[in-house]
């Protein structure tokens, strides 16, 4: 008769796995909505393939690079072998993690997180990156960079021994994705026509309903992203995490709403969606340790940062169609620091962790993008960019009847 607590704990992690999984649909719809119609298929395609590459690479290499085992505690690098190897009997089941989850649950839950860091990059580089070189980057990023830095904390490495705190990945997942995004847009350059001598020419997203669906799916999934990171179904811990997560999101949205209205006199929907996500990212490092009041403050500050950060990146001519650098990099850093201020960590070890992971990840990503650019080129040519990647890369449209003018199929007459 298996222990009911073990069953419950494991079940909760598996449910959380499914919730993190659906965040990929959230990313796909959010990114598609905030980009131009002519690139919709390309964005969806990238998001679909990223999940698949991510999970398979994590199976082959990433998982054992990120969790090499107790032999490598406190170290900078460790590898537990290729593929998965289920420990015999109880060692892979109730004894694997003190009755909290099985070996396979551990793998599949973590695999969902791995693909997330790559999908963060896809939004920032949208509308002008070549598909196959980008997928090569994703493969290397998820297989090598993400697991190595992840191991430093969650895999028992040197940051863990230092006392660095990152409950569910403000740094390990979100700012890692953000650094990758930053490196990508620096090498790629801005979309054509975005920055002119007369100032910034906005390239608005084509579908706010889709973007909103995406943001809400991400918020929904975050209950699993943070809730599952408790790594058990402990009622007290999980319920606290649900509260801090939700308060962080709501506070982020409201702060962005107010600040962007005061700053731009506009009620910009895309900005508020970024505010929700910025709040969620910022709460992710310490959701298990903040008080509800603390969570609100952290979320409010993240939401307030969003409009300033968006404008700053534009001023630096770093074009980010979806605000991924703002939401994941800037708010990820803030959330990690906040743990040292309002939560259970100390500021110095937080800074060390942010810095070390930042340097490694940015250098890795920049190097890969740089090499790709020098060899096959990273950016599509002008003609492809202006016609849109759907017809040029994929030879299809996202909205076939409307775009191609198949009036005979689409309209009815009497």
């Amino acid at each position: 008769m298996t222990n009911p607590a073990f069953i419950t704990n494991n079940l909760w992690i598996l449910i959380s796995t499914m919730m993190v999984f659906i965040m990929h649909l959230g990313f796909a719809t959010l990114e598609a909505g905030l980009a131009q119609q002519k690139n919709t298929v390309n964005i969806l395609f990238k998001n679909v393939i990223i999940v698949c590459i991510g999970i398979l690479c994590y199976y082959a290499v990433g998982f054992n690079l990120m969790y090499p085992g107790a032999d490598f505690a406190g170290k900078y690098f460790g590898f537990g072998g290729f593929g998965l190897s289920l420990p015999e009997g109880a060692a892979g089941l109730e004894e694997y993690a003190s009755g909290k989850y099985t070996y396979y649950t551990d793998f599949i839950f973590q695999a969902m997180f791995a693909a997330t860091c790559a999908t963060i990059v896809s939004g920032a580089v949208a509308e002008r990156i070549k598909l196959l070189p980008f997928l090569v980057f994703v493969l290397l990023f998820v297989t090598i960079s993400y697991p190595i830095t992840g191991m430093w904390k969650w895999g028992g490495g040197w940051l863990h021994e230092l006392g660095f705190v990152d409950f569910a990945g403000s740094t390990l997942v979100h700012s890692v994705g953000g650094w990758g995004a930053l490196a990508g847009i620096m090498i790629l350059g801005a979309r054509k026509g975005k920055y002119t001598e007369k100032g910034i020419r906005p390239i608005p997203g084509h579908n706010m309903p889709l973007a909103t669906i995406g943001a809400f799916l991400l918020w929904f999934g975050w209950f699993g992203f943070n809730g599952g990171s408790v790594l058990s179904a402990d009622p007290g811990a999980v319920s606290l995490v649900f509260v801090t997560t939700c308060l962080g999101a709501a506070s982020g949205a409201l702060a962005t709403f107010v600040v962007s209205y005061l700053k731009f006199k506009s009620l910009d929907h895309s900005m508020v969606l970024n505010g929700i996500l910025g709040g969620l990212v910022s709460i992710t490092a310490g959701a298990d340790g903040f008080t509800p009041g603390g969570a609100i403050i952290v979320g409010l500050i993240a939401g307030a940062l969003v409009p300033f950060s968006v404008v700053l990146f534009d001023k630096l001519k770093l074009d980010d169609p979806v605000g991924a650098t703002t939401v994941h990099l800037v708010c990820g850093i803030w959330g990690t620091l906040a743990v040292g201020i309002f939560g259970t960590g100390n500021l110095v070890s937080q800074l060390i962790g942010i810095g070390a992971i930042g340097v490694f990840t940015f250098a890795f990503a920049y190097f890969i993008f740089f090499i790709i650019n020098k060899t096959v080129g990273l950016r599509v040519n002008e003609d492809m960019e202006s016609k849109g990647l759907d017809v040029t890369e994929h030879e299809m449209s996202a909205y076939q009847n409307v775009e191609r003018g198949n009036f005979a199929l689409m309209t009815s007459d009497l």
């Binding site: 910034i200 020419r201 731009f264 409009p307 534009d314």
Partner: protein
């Protein structure tokens, strides 16, 4: 017979349609068009950046008028579409050489 092409504000389309209907004119084609003119164009603020779209949206109505009705039709359109602000639109009148009805094969006025 004359072809009357009228470019009017989208917001005035219903008024024009109703007034034409009152004088018995119920057949026409219309298009949603974009154009450049003297009226200031739509202002976009997106993610903190302001920009002028440049073009403005309009409705173009195209109808065929018998010579006897031409003045009445044009006056009706003009009055219904008027606001007094820059951007009210224009009416263009051109001559029609021939009309053929696809169903009946009738020519010219009997095709209308």
């Amino acid at each position: 017979m004359k072809k009357v092409e009228a470019i009017v504000r989208s917001s005035k389309f219903d008024a024009v349609k109703n007034e034409l209907s009152k004088i018995g004119i119920n057949f026409f084609t219309f298009f949603e068009v974009k154009g450049y003119g003297r009226q200031a164009s739509e202002h976009v603020v997106y993610r903190g950046a302001e920009y002028d779209i440049g073009y403005i949206a309009r409705i173009k109505i195209e109808l065929i008028a018998e010579d006897t009705q031409l003045k009445r039709i044009c006056d009706t359109i003009k009055n219904a579409a008027y606001t007094g602000e820059i951007g009210d639109g224009k009416i263009f009148i051109t001559h029609i050489d021939e009309i053929i009805s696809i169903r009946t094969g009738n020519i010219n006025e009997s095709a209308l």
